[in-house]
């Protein structure tokens, strides 16, 4: 294109090699390669060139991983290779937290200080990091050498006490998740002593293992072995799906009453049917594995410990929806889950469970794993679709819904990991049998991410209808027997409930009546030792950071919320605390009514619920 990023100069050989590792060698001068005489009289581009736009994120990942930052010259080279205007590519590169468009040290440690880690002492870790490596990294930094650290939103390791993600330019692996994390693991001179953990700490259910449905293979089957997965009943569900046919699968899902676990609780069978019957082709299916809701780690455990089940479930989704291509979009903070999924997909391909002629049934299907780059909003399904297309992860206006016009403008089914594993269970036991589990309108089981002040944080599977009290009891009850102060249900986008909600059954319908939501299954338990206003402030900072900025009520409202909560915490309200809380109500109402996506609509709900419970504001009790 005609615009350039200032006087960028030439991309280095290393940078070009990073780009080439994804795109292959350049074809000629118009493609970023050497200019030849033939280039003077012909060039090809247009639709074919722009169709490669979706490779932008993979290319930026390659540059970021191998060089440590994305220089203007590298970005210019990427643009020449992909026919993307530099302004647009810069807009994408600067949108995602894991891409650096400024020089950066070779090792960057992202220390989680989000809600769960904060309760577990993240501030202490940050102090230690500051002591060892200096102040938190701001925008500028040294190029190519040394260690820098910065605070990070939730890394999805909330059951482990502390977490960090290490990005190492040119390292292998280039990203390592550390949980539990100790600053001593990072050494400035030598390569960090980094051993990722193995196995989940506490995969549990109320009763014995026999009651586990989604978690039944966790800890039992080897996540590296397709054989082990098949020995544990793997790929029976796909066989079942093929025996009943695509419409049969959809009928089972409808019989099962399966509702999506991503937050909107939309009937999965209805969604798939809308895609399957849509006349526009091709169809796409997408697994939303961009689990980024603070306090949530369930999908990570499923992907790390049962990756084949995720692959199988996406294959079933593709079969039922009439798609030949599926995508799995996983957040960049989950390197272990990504590696295991890629391995699982490759093995499945090798054994004929992906590719042409799956199970000799004339069904062709494959899955591409796409990695996010640090953007909570990418978990919103239309933002996720934009991200796969190589754009800023900004939500789209709806309608049209993805089932009508999703990925590349085609009918697209999008479900999160937990929903997809529930599909396997539906096919295993049959739709009607699945409908018998849980309650009449909330069927099946639900995964709960227990964190905070409980005895045994971890991932739990319970039937719908269990009460909050039972969920907490199953996790060993309150830590040290302290009294319960509040529970944050559903994550940062959820709301606080008090002890009076302990006996409400955890179902979609019952929670709706008390104005709460199960959201992503977060049960973040607070006792009287926790400074709730600090938690609420962290939530407010989170939304201020993560708002994509498209809708003014969200972009401005999240800033206003953070300022307001700061004034309350400092005991310096404008006017009075009552006036501040009334203003907070106004901000919430505008954000809820006038934002196009769930982020803006729920960005103020936690603070509002905290205020209703008296956890913040003038009359709040000081932590003891």
């Amino acid at each position: 294109m005609d615009l350039r990023l200032g006087v960028a100069g030439e991309a280095t050989a290393q940078e070009q090699a990073a780009v080439t590792s994804v795109l292959g060698p350049a074809e000629g001068g118009w493609d970023g390669g050497q200019r030849t005489a033939a280039d003077g009289h012909a060039a090809f581009g247009g639709h074919a060139a722009r169709a490669r736009r979706h490779l932008l994120l993979p290319v930026l990942h390659a540059v970021q991983e191998q060089i440590g930052w994305i220089s203007p010259a590298a970005l210019d080279y990427v643009c020449a290779r992909l026919t993307i205007p530099p302004a647009e590519a810069y807009g994408v590169a600067s949108f995602y937290a894991m891409f650096s468009t400024r020089p950066a040290p070779s090792t960057v440690v992202h220390v989680c200080d989000d809600i769960a880690c904060q309760v577990a002492g993240a501030e202490r870790l940050c102090e230690q990091m500051e002591h060892r490596f200096g102040a938190e990294r701001t925008e500028t930094g040294a190029n190519g050498a040394g260690v820098a650290w910065q605070r990070s939103p939730c890394l999805g390791q909330c059951d482990r006490g502390s977490a960090a993600l290490v990005q190492r330019a040119g390292g292998d692996p280039a990203r390592i998740a550390l949980a539990p994390f100790e600053p001593g693991q990072i050494r400035p001179s030598v390569s960090p002593a980094l051993a990722p953990h193995d196995g989940p700490l506490v995969p549990q259910a109320t009763g014995d293992r026999a009651s586990l449905r989604l978690l039944r293979r966790i800890g039992q089957a080897d996540p590296h072995s397709l054989g082990s997965y098949r020995a544990a009943g793997g790929y029976e569900a796909l066989r079942q799906a093929m025996s009943v046919g695509p419409q049969g699968v959809i009928r089972e899902l409808k019989d099962a009453g399966l509702l999506g676990r991503g937050g909107a609780a939309f009937p999965t069978g209805v969604k798939w049917e809308a895609v399957a019957t849509h006349p526009v082709r091709p169809h796409y299916v997408v697994c939303n594995a961009d689990e980024s809701e603070p306090g949530t780690f369930k999908d990570r455990v499923l992907m790390e410990e049962d990756p084949y089940a995720v692959i199988e479930a996406i294959t079933i989704m593709g079969y039922a929806c009439g798609a030949e291509q599926g995508y799995l979009y996983i957040r960049g903070e989950y390197p272990l889950a990504e590696a295991r999924l890629r391995h699982a997909a490759a093995q499945a391909r090798g054994y004929g469970f992906l590719g042409e002629g799956i199970m000799r049934a004339g069904f062709a299907f494959d899955i591409e794993v796409r990695r996010g780059a640090g953007a909570y909003i990418a978990g919103e399904e239309t933002a996720l679709v934009n991200s796969i297309e190589g754009k800023r992860a900004e939500p789209r206006n709806k309608p049209p819904f993805p089932a009508q016009s999703g990925l590349f403008g085609k009918p697209t089914a999008i479900n999160n990991v937990e929903t997809l594993l529930s599909v396997i269970e539906v096919l295993r036991i049959g739709g009607p049998a699945f409908a018998q589990i849980g309650t009449a309108s909330s069927t099946g089981t639900r995964l709960f991410c227990l964190s905070g002040r409980v005895e045994r944080p971890g991932l739990y599977e319970h039937e719908f209808g269990i009460t909050l009290r039972q969920v907490i009891d199953a996790a060993g009850g309150m830590r040290d027997g302290r009294p319960l102060r509040a529970v944050l249900l559903g994550g940062a986008a959820g709301s606080f409930v008090g002890p009076d909600a302990l006996d409400v059954p955890l179902t979609f319908e019952a929670l709706r009546t008390i104005g709460a939501t199960l959201g992503s299954g977060v049960v973040f338990v607070l006792d009287d030792t926790v400074d709730v206003s600090a938690i609420v402030a962290r939530i407010a900072r989170f939304f201020r950071d993560e708002s994509c900025g498209q809708c003014v009520p969200c972009r401005v409202g999240t800033v206003r919320q953070e300022e307001l909560l700061g004034r309350l915490a400092r005991g310096a309200p404008l006017g009075s605390a009552e006036r501040e809380l009334a203003l907070l109500d106004d901000i919430a109402a505008v954000a809820r009514d006038a934002s196009i996506c769930g982020l803006g609509q729920t960005a103020v709900s936690a603070a509002i619920s905290a205020a209703r419970l008296g956890l913040i504001g003038a009359d709040r009790e000081e932590p003891t």
């Binding site: 003077g40 009289h41 012909a42 060039a43 090809f44 581009g45 247009g46 639709h47």
Partner: protein, 555 residues
């Protein structure tokens, strides 16, 4: 086309086309509004070819760019025509029913096999073949061009070469298929429609052959019209040279800057016995005038109409009072008439428009009220019930010969290289064009700032600059057979070696037309701005302050 001086299609047809060919047109920069429609078409799946010596920003949107040598358009078009015929892709039904002269055309293009076109244009034969097949096979195809086709000594032949292709493939007279010459201003089309062409009365009525129209005008005006057409611009300059033309009244035009061979234009205009210039600005031409008549800005200080490239007549409304001393063009002309002894009164713009509607059948149905109600009307619009025509020549598809009317003729044309030949002394081909944020000589666009405006440069292929030892920003001496000037070098990889580019936007800084050749097309009167042979070297650094015009004429 086929007797009508306007594009056959509407802008919105580009949105619904399957194939769009931009030929000698950098619409993205020169026609950004039209290009929005093109982009919408592309977003809906239309494929685009771009034929242009430079890989312009428009070409960067194209599925394929054909980087032809300057002035090799006819060879390319004829080869495409031959390939369409040879591949059996002629729209035979259309050609048989609605055209004449196919056989002569077919035998004329026999001399243009793909290999010859590759030699003449530099474009690979396979790519030419691909364009031929895609164009002929497309259900709806728009063939669009601009000054890259018409600013040549054989401009009309170039246009005929393209029309021939549309006839072969039947890409005219149907929704989505058409021939689209893009006009450079909001009202270039209107200027022609109103009779500002030497051989046409208002409404494209021929002054020499259309006796009915002549009679109508003579009856209305009560005078006898001159029997012969007048001179076009290039002929006027020749007449000034011979001394036959001694007085000029110029309205809204800056020929000192816009004419090829500036030195000559300035000399001839300066040597007139009497020069009157009517303009919003004191242009370089006005500076030479004996009398300057300050006029209003017609887009905001006057009532009237403009006509866009899609033949749409639209109302212009007065929004501002003009500055003191500036007067409406109508008022100036009527005042002039009064001083010459004819009182035309004080007609309003609408009065004059209604007079025109009585004389020009294609405007007859366009009352101000209807123009207002319908948001503009596309001519022809013969009566007040007529909605206007979205596209022209639908008649060619009629099965009834009576309704089909006169067939459209093929016009065989032959390739001729540009007149200003490349030689050892002048080895580089200079072509000229526009940039997005500037317009022609800068009279209109130079008044405001834009963030992307760069001063004039000599754009060169990086290879040429390296060979000459010139770097970005170095001052180069550019010489043609007519004159020379200095301009800073800009390395531009949209240019291949041997090709250079300049604009006319900054005549105060660099008077590009010092270099260009005023050879003009006898059929259209357009000068060959697009093909100048130049030599480039390093400028001596002794020049006083930046680039400067050196209109010394090389004998």
């Amino acid at each position: 086309m086929f007797g009508a001086g306007g594009g056959t299609s509407s802008y919105r047809e580009a949105e619904d086309a399957d194939l769009i060919v931009l030929w000698g047109s950098n619409a993205r920069e020169a026609h950004p509004i039209f290009f929005h429609h093109v982009l919408r078409g592309i977003r809906r799946g239309a494929r685009m070819y771009c034929v242009d010596p430079r890989r312009t920003t428009s070409a960067q949107w194209a599925d394929a760019w054909l980087g032809i040598h300057v002035g090799s358009d006819i060879s390319l078009a004829n080869a495409i025509g031959r390939e369409i015929i040879r591949a059996g892709l002629v729209n035979e039904e259309f050609v048989r029913r609605a055209t004449t002269g196919f056989d002569a055309y077919a035998s004329a293009v026999e001399d243009y096999p793909l290999e010859r076109a590759e030699r003449d244009t530099g474009v690979p034969a396979a790519l030419i073949r691909q364009l031929a097949h895609d164009y002929a096979r497309a259900d709806r195809a728009q063939l669009c061009w601009t000054l890259g086709i018409t600013e040549h000594h054989n401009a009309a032949d170039n246009v005929f070469a393209l029309i021939n292709l549309a006839l072969l493939a039947g890409h005219v007279g149907r929704y989505g298929s058409g021939l689209v010459p893009l006009r450079g201003q909001n009202n270039v089309q209107g200027g022609g429609d109103m009779g500002a062409i030497p051989n046409k009365l208002t409404g494209f009525q021929d002054i020499e052959t259309n006796m009915q129209a002549r009679a109508r005008f003579e009856a209305e005006y009560g005078v006898a019209l001159p029997p012969k057409r007048g001179m076009h611009l290039s002929q006027m300059f020749e007449a000034m040279e011979t001394g036959d033309l001694t007085a000029c009244y110029i309205v809204g035009e800056n020929p000192v800057r816009s004419e090829a061979d500036t030195g000559r234009a300035r000399k001839l205009l300066g040597g007139l016995a009497h020069l009157v210039v009517q303009d919003m600005f004191l242009t370089d031409t006005a500076a030479l005038a004996d009398v300057v008549l300050p006029a209003t800005a017609t887009w905001c200080e006057a009532e009237g109409t403009v006509t866009s490239s899609e033949r749409r007549v639209q109302r212009v409304r007065k929004a501002l009072e003009p500055p003191a001393g500036a007067r409406d063009d109508i008022e100036i002309i009527c005042e002039l008439a009064r001083r010459l002894g004819r009182d035309w009164g004080h007609p309003s713009a609408e009065d004059i428009w209604n007079e025109l509607r009585g004389l020009s059948p294609m405007h007859a149905g366009m009352s101000y009220r209807r123009l207002e109600e319908l948001g503009g009307i596309q001519w022809p619009c013969p009566d007040e019930q007529h909605p206007g025509e979205m596209f022209l020549h639908a008649r060619l598809w009629e099965t009834d010969p009576a309704r089909r009317g006169a067939p459209a003729p093929f016009t065989p044309v032959e390739q001729e290289p540009p007149l200003d030949e490349l030689s050892e002394e002048f080895p580089i081909r200079l072509t000229t064009g526009r940039r997005l944020d500037s317009f022609n000589t800068g009279v209109q666009s130079g008044q405001y700032n834009t963030p992307i405006r760069r001063p004039e440069t000599l754009n060169m292929a990086p290879e040429d600059a390296a060979r000459l030892g010139l770097a970005e920003g170095d001052l180069a001496r550019v010489s043609s057979r007519r004159g020379s000037l200095d301009a800073p070098v800009h390395l531009d990889d949209s240019l291949r070696p041997g090709l250079a580019f300049m604009t006319l936007h900054f005549p105060e800084q660099v008077a590009t037309n010092v270099l260009t050749l005023d050879a003009w097309d006898p059929k259209s009167g357009t000068a060959e701005f697009k093909a100048t042979a130049i030599r480039v070297g390093r400028a001596e650094m002794l020049t006083s302050g930046g680039g400067s015009e050196r209109a010394e004429v090389i004998p």
